[in-house]
């Protein structure tokens, strides 16, 4: 199995100048909201599998961003990474508070998009196996896979969102991909 880095929902980024002008006039925050609402909502929906919850967490994310935008400093990553970081924190807060099992919901359509067609096995069967193998991964590995292949984030952005070193993110990703690859291979050989 090979995954391609071709996130469908690639975002338009707002510039550092735009952020500076929003800091001066908070009413311009609409630009941020309109630009990133879709991607943040999709991210939260994927991680909660609940539309109402995703909506609530999106509101909290943008509210936090609105309240803290004056403190925002450009750190060499796109503005969206800052929003993803807030959203990820909101999600973690929710799961910690409610002590629920984290959910990763994946669109079947997206799996079909990112997986090569030359698998030589039934796609339905492959999806079932993938689901099983993904469940065996650690939360952090799954987070990285999701941010990389579904959100289409660069390694620097993932490192910023998860507050980790870029090298650690790369290593984790390659390890988890290797794990998946081995599992698929061992399944094929059986």
């Amino acid at each position: 199995m090979d995954l391609k880095n071709d996130a469908t929902y690639r975002r338009n980024e707002i510039t550092a100048e735009q952020v500076e002008s929003i800091k001066k006039d908070i009413n311009q925050f609409r630009v941020v909201y309109d630009t990133y609402f879709d991607s943040i909502f999709r991210f939260l929906y994927r991680r909660s599998d609940n539309e109402a919850l995703a909506s609530e967490l999106s509101s909290n994310t943008f509210l936090k961003a609105l309240e803290n935008i004056k403190k925002y400093e450009y750190r060499g990553v796109p503005f969206s990474s800052w929003l993803y970081r807030i959203a990820a924190n909101e999600l973690n807060k929710f799961y910690r508070k409610n002590s629920k099992v984290q959910v990763f919901s994946i669109e079947e359509e997206r799996i079909r998009e990112v997986v090569h067609d030359d698998l030589g096995e039934d796609i339905e069967q492959m999806i079932d196996s993938l689901k099983m193998y993904l469940e065996e991964l650690k939360d952090e590995e799954l987070n990285i896979l999701e941010l990389r292949f579904y959100e289409g984030l660069e390694f620097t952005e993932i490192a910023y969102v998860l507050e980790k070193k870029e090298s650690a993110v790369k290593m984790r990703l390659y390890r988890s991909l290797e794990k998946l690859r081995k599992k698929f291979k061992s399944k094929e050989s059986k």
């Binding site: 925050f29 539309e51 509101s59 099992v101 959910v103 669109e107 999806i127 993904l134 650690k138």
Partner: protein, 92 residues
């Protein structure tokens, strides 16, 4: 122990469904309300601090005034009588 649940969704989230959740006006209203609450709390704290300072000044001045008005009592001088024992043979 399983820490997460993987769900495969047959259908992807449509744009119209996302649009339903967009409410920038509502977000701004909540923000304004929060800002107002923050401002109110800050003003209340400032007012309390000012009132406390005023009370402190009033208390201090009352204390000072009463201290000034109080008649100064003459303190009786206390003499301590010392008795020196001279050794015998020394003139006193």
């Amino acid at each position: 122990m399983r820490r997460h649940d993987i769900k495969i969704r047959r259908e992807s989230l449509g744009q119209t469904r996302i649009e339903k959740h967009k409410d920038f006006g509502g977000l701004m209203k909540v923000h304004e309300r929060r800002q107002m609450r923050k401002l109110l709390v800050r003003n209340m704290l400032t007012l309390m601090a000012v009132l406390f300072l005023i009370a402190l000044v009033i208390y201090g001045s009352i204390k000072l005034k009463s201290a000034r008005e109080e008649p100064v009592e003459d303190k009786p001088q206390v003499f301590i009588e010392q008795t020196i024992d001279y050794p015998d043979g020394i003139l006193r």
